[in-house]
Subunit: 263 residues, 2 copies
């Protein structure tokens, strides 16, 4: 089975042009089939402010109204995505920038209104991704670059969390590839001591995860991230790596990179 | 040799959601391999105005400064392109929305500064398009939808005229396909009498074109359009059709559609 890397970057990489430059260079050096998923960053918020669109929050949860959807379609799908693609082409990666509407790659369902109407937000379910469809693009020699926009198949674009997209792609493509899912974030990995970047825990399996939770070494913000990672592993993803974008070149050099979660 | 239709739509279709809806439905009904190329429309101008970016003109020619490039990347590459793709998916066309940076499909050269600095404008030359690359995407079952953004291969996005992109695609792909290039515009075709939409001249070959010019039936604004069309035909494009987007369904029904230019 061929291997496939699915790498997600967020605002901390996108908002810093130097970080982004180095990351995209290292991404290009990574051999084999790969997919990039990127989040938003500050530009969408800045553009919304300039346009006088107020961020709408209900019970602390962000709402995607039609104006915000227009902004994220422009910024994620246009400005950020196409600049990343142009940079990758410069380095020699034959990238194609995509939303989930393109190629019908990610079809989601508009979140139903219960207590809160989240607006134009699309939720992924088990039927959202057609792995054969994406595999045809990979086989044709292209490297997909996904932004956090999907569609409902009825002509409506929707806003979808980039972490969830990355995870769903990894699970869905695990039928055809040995998939490794990589989340790039601010820290070098899961740390024993939050103040010591050198205290990376290199490997965590489900048993060790239980111990680390019981010892309260892993807590608060990291818990949902790791819970999701182990769910993906339970669904067939070979491993999930949490690390720093600066360190990605270590992966290609077979050096320790971030924290690897696996069975 | 397989046939390929390359269809270009401009602001008159994009700015009117009803026109666009019908056009995309008819585009979907058109059998065989096809590529859509779309221009801009009013949204980019409106967004520029809202953001306080002044349209820069030198000697009546529009300049693409860095701010304007950001706007067109957002609007053409994001908002318009991805909404067209979502609509096409709804109708059953497996569309993928692209700039020339994606897949390295259209690589241009930043226009050199002579008397005027046009800014971030990319000029197409004979080496700009790799037809095999686009053919791989068509063969994988996807329908490319190009906006009027290209790249220089060095990481820089550039603004390129959509008519020129459509023509260059048709010429380049003529090596692999029997290509028909269709320009949708406001009129039903080249008219004998500009005030009579029924006076369509159905077929024009180079000899007839000379006559029509001498009789001053074709003049002013139509001349560069038709000159470019006959250049494309001289370079291997089978025929160029100029017609109204509303009438596209006639093509599928083998009924007369617009004015057909051919050798």
């Amino acid at each position: 089975m061929r291997s496939l890397h699915i790498i997600k970057i967020g605002g901390n990489v996108i908002d810093n042009s130097e970080n982004l430059y180095h990351f995209l260079k290292d991404f290009t050096a990574l051999e084999g089939d790969k997919i990039l998923v990127h989040g938003g960053g500050k530009v969408a918020t800045q553009l919304s402010e300039t346009l006088g669109i107020e961020a709408k929050l209900v019970d602390g949860r962000r709402i995607t109204d039609i104006e915000t959807l227009r902004v994220v379609t422009m910024v994620y799908g246009g400005l950020i995505n196409k600049n990343i693609v142009a940079q990758l082409q410069r380095f020699g990666t034959n990238a194609i920038g995509l939303t989930g509407a393109d190629g019908n790659f990610i079809r989601t369902k508009k979140r139903p209104v219960k207590t809160i109407d989240y607006g134009f937000v699309g939720d992924i379910d088990s039927g959202s991704i057609n792995p054969e469809n994406i595999s045809r693009l990979l086989d044709a020699g292209f490297t997909p670059v996904f932004c956090a926009i999907t569609h409902d198949g009825e002509g409506q674009l929707l806003n979808t969390n980039a972490d969830t997209i990355a995870s769903a792609l990894a699970v869905s493509l695990a039928r055809l590839y040995e998939t490794t899912l990589i989340y790039c974030f601010e820290k070098a990995g899961v740390l024993h001591d939050i103040n010591d970047e050198d205290s990376i825990i290199r490997d965590i399996n489900p048993e060790r995860y239980q111990e680390l939770k019981e010892q309260q070494i892993i807590h608060s913000g990291m818990l949902p991230k790791l819970d999701n990672a182990f769910s993906a592993i339970a669904c067939g993803v070979k491993s999930v790596i949490i690390g720093k974008s600066d360190d990605l070149s270590r992966l290609q050099q077979k050096q320790p990179f971030g924290t690897r979660l696996s069975n």
